[in-house]
Symmetry: C2
Subunit: 562 residues, 2 copies
């Protein structure tokens, strides 16, 4: 992409400089709040629109009662910025909605607006982040940066929230389990679904059921069949073409249904399994058999339409054993209701019995997937009960972030015309940290991150091995000396504007996912645990601390008691 | 639209028959779960793909602890259906993700698939609905209807959830208040934002801040300025062009800033307001003055950047009074933090003082808008405390449906090849009601809805004035005789397929909104109240009741105790 920049002039002058637009074509310069336009007009009218402003994007509290967040959404923001340009019909719509007294010159101005003079510094996507530290710093002409506020917040807020949610599910499920995102049907709108698939994958999920997301982002896809498929069958008589070629192609079995029925009788007659079940449901048997005929290499059956242990599992085993006769290995079962821990253990026992009784090596290890309104709590409960599940399909609670449906990222002015600005509030946690800042992550001897520190733009950076005083931004009694063993400069330049700086590459999704998984391993476990996690320290330098408090006193009105 | 149908042949044969596609272009036939494709293949492989299936879309529990839901999302579903057709690149992607053993004929089949043989019956969009009653019934070739399941659920679930949420906010706020949706920045992705704007308007909101939604759906737009606008100013010296023409165009004031400053001194010197505040913040005064110069006809100021009563409100009044001198009427203030009830009352007092002291008729009625994480609870609390607010800007909690982030609509097979199907579950609430059904709403003498009743497709409909026995579908002791004064047939034909039926029109958004508001008035208040609402009765006919229980016994496996 950098080569393209060099040969085609500055990137992002409205035509994306070769960078594709946002995934969702509805993300246009009009996807913003009306007040960004009224402010842009007021700035323009006052001749103030080109004043150079610096805004920080950050959040104030970690979601889900946790002490960490994963930053996501950056690539979509940069794609948006790169292609930011008003079309004529957009300008005429803005003209319609502003008062008729607004002057024509403003629309000429809008016509020329793009992000060529905007600079964006950001923490790399997929990084573990903490409250108050800017995830993005956006600098540029104030009218333009205001127009960007809403879409950037929109693209970052949910992305970071759902990535964090996915990472929390991964952390509870453990590294060895297969995690599948099944949320499309319950997501908050179509791209709530597509976005969820992307960011759950980023946060550590293995695959999605969402075909469109698979196509757009190259995420692995998973899925088998539903209850409706099972109940659409009445009996095996419906299966007309009963033939199945063996796995190695050497022979064809003319009546696969008979082999299945034979196996079912053998299972029913088995000593060790005897009495575990009576007659199984015939429509289910027909559905499984038919599904196996369609997907002999991918046979995974949903076993809870009628009764898991009395019908679903024996029917599955009959079909799986018939497939085995032809050289195919069934994948496994999915449980979608009931006591998942108990049913998984019972199913595992059944599979092991089959392995022993009929001498089918590996059958005991047949995959068991669970779904049905899973979330962090149910995964945790399953772990405590003990279970035999290999994979989890997670939907509603994951993609809608049911436990906390919004992340409160904000976008605050911290400097204009090189003058630092502060936003006061009676609620101290809402006071913004002024100035264009630098942000560093300091690491200790064991390789874990110790704390993040913000300094003024022109302060010299913390150095490895040198003691530095780190202060809580608002609480004067909270401070600590730190001697970092490693220092990461957190904010990288993702959109250089006219600064002449090098532009950071946007890595492909898979690399961001790998980064995210690694990042989570570098955070001290006590910050990550579900129960009473330790807050991670976010601090400011001595110099910045003093400046914040000077400015605060300067701006706050003095009360008059009467 | 019906005319178009007649002249152009059957609508919806893949090209939409003139009907536009879904609002979000990402809603394509690939926006579905992988298992819909694996099932479609398995049906096709078994020669079962054209079997006629009937699916019901319904939910099991009302959201937000309430006893009603508003159905929404229908128009988007019909637009999707009308344009349902696979493109070549979509088919080749499906080929990539299915096992290589899948036969070529399936892809030829997919190439020809459209919804010309699908029928959709639905309750009109914007109707108040209740658990278990089908919101939509989708009939058609089973493989096609399965492919539709996920996108239809996606388009209905969030739409109905957020419309319901909006209607609940309206109900707490009261009819006379202005409700503004401000959620775009916190929404779950870009069309979480656009969808929220549409459906909040449908549910009774008056306007949105989302410009894109205003353009796409014609929703009124609102918005003024942010804290950043205020803090971007340092002092009134920054205002270079200080001239303002009077409202009637008859004269031009050369130094509007001086008039503002004069008014500020007069307010500061006033007897009744004396001592209420000292020096106001000058950057705020500059920002307000500048904004008024840009929007003299639309002056609404955010007054809490520094201190509402000591700075924001006096500054606002100074600018508003200066505008008044030139014949303009300021709109009002917005409060975005602090004790909104208290601050609104104090601001109102201040405005009334100004009205009296300076003889400005109507100034006491200056509009007061509140924002800042409002939700049903805070609106309710404000009502109880007493407040002077005229308008509410509601974002995060509204659009993300924070109180309950998902509605659990499901899509269940109820009939195939004219054979009724039932989905059993150990959890009775999860047992589906089989058969192609008719659904009626019965009204009592006072015009309120009494209950909904489902009957078999061929039963004769309930008649006005005739006694009918209504039974709870699963609880045999719950039943009641009803003599309806009015009977509404709930399911209308929105997509006739090849049935030859008339197609219901899809009314414009504004009409759906009006319908929704009227509907909510026809539900008995005790079903609608926030605290301990009475459940609305959903029943089945005697005949359907008996059939459900016959089928249930038939399908359930008989236990064997040992």
């Amino acid at each position: 992409m950098r080569e393209m920049t060099e040969s085609n002039g500055p990137v992002g002058v409205g035509e994306g400089g070769g960078m594709p637009g946002p995934t969702n074509p509805m993300v246009t310069p009009l996807l913003t709040d009306l007040y960004q336009f009224t402010m842009a007009y007021a700035y323009w009218k006052a001749g103030k629109h080109s004043e150079r402003a610096v805004f920080d994007l950050y959040f104030r509290r970690n979601p889900f009662g946790g002490e960490y967040t994963v930053f996501a959404g950056l690539e979509e923001c940069i794609r948006f910025i790169a292609n930011f340009k008003f079309g004529e019909d957009e300008i005429s719509f803005v003209r319609q909605i502003l008062p008729p007294s607004c002057e024509d010159g403003f629309y000429d101005y809008l016509r020329g607006v793009d992000c060529s003079d905007v600079e964006i510094y950001a923490i790399p996507e997929g990084t573990v982040v903490f409250p108050r530290v800017p995830l993005m710093r956006v600098e540029g002409p104030i009218a333009i940066v205001q127009l960007l506020e809403t879409p950037i917040l929109n693209l970052v807020n949910y992305a970071s929230l759902v990535t964090t949610n996915a990472s929390r599910h991964r952390s509870v499920a453990g590294k060895s389990k297969l995690l599948l995102e099944f949320g499309l049907r319950r997501a908050q709108g179509p791209d709530g679904g597509i976005g969820a698939s992307k960011y759950c994958y980023m946060g550590g999920f293995d695959a999605t059921s969402n075909v469109a997301a698979g196509k757009v982002f190259g995420i692995p896809l998973r899925g088998t069949h539903s209850h409706a498929y099972v109940s659409s069958y009445m009996s095996v008589d419906e299966i007309l073409d009963k033939s199945l070629r063996s796995s190695d192609g050497s022979s064809t079995c003319d009546d696969f249904v008979s082999i299945v029925q034979e196996w079912l009788s053998r299972i029913q007659g088995s000593n060790s399994l005897h009495g575990a079940f009576g007659e199984t449901n015939q429509s289910e048997l027909a559905a499984f058999t038919s599904y196996a005929l369609a997907f002999p290499t991918n046979f995974l059956a949903l076993v809870d339409t009628y009764d898991v242990m009395r019908s679903g599992v024996p029917n599955f085993c009959a079909v799986a054993l018939a497939l085995n006769d032809l050289g195919y290995k069934a994948i496994g079962i999915r449980l979608d209701s009931g006591d998942l821990a108990y049913l998984s253990c019972e199913s595992r026992k059944f599979f092991k019995c089959i392995e022993e009784e009929f001498g089918i090596p590996g059958f005991g290890k047949t995959n068991i997937t669970a779904s049905n309104n899973l979330n962090e709590e149910t995964l945790d409960a399953l772990n405590k009960q003990g279970h035999e599940l290999d994979a989890f399909g997670i939907g509603t609670y994951l993609v809608t972030c049911y436990a906390q449906a919004a992340l409160g990222c904000v976008f605050k002015l911290v400097e204009i015309n090189n003058q630092p600005r502060i936003k006061l509030s009676e609620d101290v946690s809402k006071v913004s940290i002024p100035c264009k800042k630098r942000c560093y992550r300091l690491y200790g001897k064991e390789g874990f991150a110790l704390l993040d520190i913000m300094t003024g733009e022109n302060e010299s950076p913390p150095k490895v091995g040198e003691r530095i005083l780190c202060r809580h931004p608002f609480n004067e009694s909270k401070r600590a000396y730190v001697v970092p063993q490693r220092v990461d400069d957190l904010l990288k330049c993702y959109w250089p504007g006219k600064s002449g700086k090098e532009r950071e590459e946007l890595p492909p999704l898979k690399e961001v996912r790998t980064r995210c998984i690694k990042q989570l391993e570098q955070v001290r476990p006590d910050h990550m645990r579900r129960l009473n996690p330790t807050p991670y320290k976010v601090s400011v330098s001595m110099e910045l601390y003093n400046f914040i408090h000077f400015l605060w006193l300067n701006e706050a009105p003095v009360g008059e008691l009467q």
